[in-house]
Amino acid sequence: MPTDKSTATPSPRRSAAATLRAPSFELVHHTLGNGLRVVVAPDRSAPVVGIAVLYDVGFRSEPEGRTGFAHLFEHLMFQGSANLDKLEHFRYVQASGGMFNGSTHLDYTNYFEALPSNAFERGLFLEADRMRSPRITEENLANQISVVKEEIRVNVLNRPYGGFPWLVLPPVLFDTFPNAHNGYGGFVDLESATVADASAFFDSYYAPANAVLCVAGDLDADNALELIERHFAPIRRRKRPVRPDFAEPELAAERRATVSDALAPMPAVALGYRVPDPGTDLQTYLATLLLAEILSDGDASRLQRSLVQSKRLVTDIGAYLGTFGDPLEERDPSRLNITAHYADPGATDKVIAAVDAELARLATDGTEPGEIDRVRTKFAATIFRELDQVLNRSLEFAKFQLLFGDASLILRLPSLLAQITDADIRAAAARLVPSSRAVVELIPGANA
């Protein structure tokens, strides 16, 4: 329990969260004739710009027999385009003093640059050129299949706990291919990919109408829109693909599985829970988001205090929403993960029971006074900090526009979180029962 800190620097203890306001960013919206949705977020505080293009396709949409294709395709988008040879995209960005990257997620794929503002138009051209036509050849495809295989080796196959739990939970928690399969891809599938597959994937999913462009930073909104028209409007309009419904029925009972990891020195366990749909029930979803923070953010959180500090059952434990730890980057169905590493191979059931006890305690007794407030204050502050970076601003506004149809939602999150009550948190905790989860236990093989 907290010690009396009345002699320390006194500070007002009223709810900070209720009064927190996100910094204001002007957002200008526009849709081009070809359907490309555009968000412009000017801010002249530093001489840099962020450019983000998000396509509404992720590894949930890749075809059977082509696991890992969405990610492989992301690599191919850097291999040259209508007016650029291989290697030129990278060189133009870096020769401008900028940085680039792309990443593939469950429901979208992003491409982005952070640039000194004098390279703004150049950055627009580079993104427009590959939206127009990536240059995909047999040679580049073979090269990038090799690169992606090394990416998978370094991140999954050659290291302990590689892909744990993001590759091992979905096949237990979900039943359909889109939700359950390995998004990094199997080597056989990757090696089977063809240039024709890539063309078909581009035609289906990389239409301007299936994308959002967000530019942020040191730019003038009118001028930016003019340049965007100039570079993106000539790209031919194509049909926007219909996104299938990926929903799955709720679980009937708890599911359990084990995976062995020859490189791991210690056991681990991952619990994956079905969660509400953020698209149709944001309020309930946000309560689950705050619950995850209450469970594992920092030394004052429930699971840290109980399992790490008091019972000393685990080395580390974390609770988070979504595949990669961003709680607002997926549509339904998503999940809440709780993962723990611990030294004693016989302790798995005790670890799970201790998690269940903490969830039951929250569902029954609710939160401590001030507990929700401090967690949402912290969460809001984390958003402000994210938004300080121009590249993050362009990525976040684009993501919220693409997934939720509302770029400004991220700025309203603090006030939405302020409405979450103790009853909401209790209800969220009460939903995390064994029958709504999958459990994957990792059996270590190293030092065995």
Binding site: L87, Q94, A95, V154, A262, K378
Partner: protein
């Protein structure tokens, strides 16, 4: 490779041919560069010796704080005790226990993390800017009254052992530790992670004594960047830290030994599907007149994506995902290092290409086009790295900790602009030559010893 890389000096690039489109479009030229914003610092040295530096950056209603305490010590038990200190310094103070301190940080919208390397202990925090006084109150409480409760130290000691076990199962950690031992044999810079038996033998009293000896204001640096009024922030810092006094105990700071020369060290990891390659050598410090040329030589070789090594072993040959070279700056020396994880079956060819590209850098000049590319990249990414509160705070902490300042950073643009191809060639010959470097390969010895042995002298395995 030829082509591209037009810099701001050039007009629009010429239209280029496209195999697929009748009409080709020109890549837009860069427009006139925005003038870098001048950064104004406010500074005060407190009577205790802490140097406080504040920058107002009101982009978001947050503040970033870095407290850097010199921590280099040659004492044999320092590594273990400092590791345990960094794990337990936030577990109890005069006014807080572990939980109430964490609660306080959340209420401030804050995060407080402890970082440790051989040179320094670093407390890094962010918080709502309106809460700066409370945040510095927490800092003051931690540095002047961390209590290291016995039960917390014993709990974290057990966790530290488990974390070291986890870390040592990572091939990258194994490789970095092996390279460190060759780069700085028997020196704190080369120690890597603590030994488990030594962690287990470390007591709360020993950690407390280390705090008493070294967590002192003299020589410490406090950086505050954010939505604050500088004069007020300086006053708050002075008031908050008034109780933190004293000078650090005398420390033996051992001179850096010579690099341990010899063949490529092979560390066997049976069944490994990749080989973790690491090479390292000495480099110039940022105070050296020739440093800007070395910075650009590193970028041209492998310090950015559009570099020779990356374009060769990744984009041409597909041997690896993320090869990268880097310059790192520690208090006693700077170093040049290479890192790549390559498929086991191409380990030999990957090392061959690596030596080829290093050898080219060391014996032939880079082109003017390459120089323009790396120069613009170096200048542009410098602007990006200081465009956020957090980036500026960390940059300042690193610069001031090394005896440099913002003025150095500002003038660095001009230094980079003045570097010539010949100057790059001269430093590359000295620091990027394969014979200047030592290397480590962590992988399946049965499969890689043969191919490697045909290219380089191999030891170990």
């Amino acid at each position: 490779m030829s082509t591209t890389a037009d810099s701001s000096q050039q007009p629009a690039a010429a239209p280029r041919k496209s195999a697929r489109h009748a009409v080709t479009l020109p890549v837009p030229a860069l427009t006139a560069p925005a003038k870098p914003k001048k950064i104004t610092t406010a500074e005060r040295v407190l009577s205790s010796g802490v140097r406080v530096v504040v920058v107002r950056r009101p982009s978001v209603p947050m503040v970033e704080v870095r407290l850097r305490v010199p921590f280099l010590s040659g004492k044999s038990h320092h590594l273990t005790r400092s590791a345990l200190l960094s794990e337990t310094i936030l577990t109890g103070t005069e006014h807080f226990d572990r939980t109430s301190l964490a609660i306080e940080m959340q209420e401030l919208g804050g995060d407080l993390a402890v970082g440790l390397d051989a040179d320094r202990l670093l407390l890094s925090a962010s918080a709502l800017s309106a809460k700066l006084a409370d945040l510095l109150g927490v800092f003051a409480d931690v540095v002047s009254s961390a209590s290291y409760p016995k039960s917390e130290v014993s709990g974290e000691r057990a966790r530290l052992v488990e974390r070291i076990t986890l870390a040592r199962s990572e091939p990258g950690v194994i490789a970095n530790e092996a390279l460190g031992r060759r780069m700085a044999p028997g020196h704190p810079y080369g120690y890597g992670l603590p030994r488990i038996d030594e962690v287990q033998a470390t007591t709360a009293a020993q950690v407390r004594a280390l705090h008493h000896d070294l967590v002192r204001p003299e020589g410490a640096l406090l950086i505050i960047v954010g939505d604050v009024v500088p004069s007020r922030a300086l006053d708050i810092a002075e008031r908050s830290l008034a109780a933190w006094t004293g000078s650090a105990g005398t420390r033996k700071v051992p001179a850096l030994p010579q690099i341990e020369r010899g063949g490529l060290l092979l560390v066997d990891r049976p069944g490994s599907v990749q080989t973790s390659l690491r090479f390292g050598g000495r480099a110039l410090t940022r105070l050296d007149d020739r440093y800007p040329a070395l910075q650009l030589a590193n970028l041209a070789f492998g310090g950015m994506f559009s570099s020779r090594w990356v374009e060769n072993i990744r984009e041409d040959k597909g041997y690896t995902y993320s090869p990268r070279s880097a310059l790192d700056h520690a208090t006693l020396a700077s170093s040049f290092s290479l890192s790549a994880d390559v498929a086991t079956e191409v380990t030999g060819p990957a090392v061959l290409e690596t030596f080829y590209e290093l050898g080219r850098m060391a014996t032939l000049p880079i082109t003017e086009a390459e120089l323009a590319l790396v120069r613009q990249y170096a200048i542009g990414t410098m602007s990006l790295s200081i465009s956020t509160q957090a980036g500026l705070a960390s940059t300042l902490s690193g610069l001031l900790g090394a005896g440099l300042d913002l003025e150095w950073l500002t003038r660095h643009r001009d230094r980079l602009a003045a570097v010539t191809v010949d100057q790059v060639a001269e430093v590359a010959a000295e620091f990027l030559a394969p014979t200047s470097l030592v290397g480590v390969a962590v992988g399946d010895a049965d499969r890689i010893a043969g191919p490697l042995g045909r290219i380089v002298e191999v030891q170990g395995g």
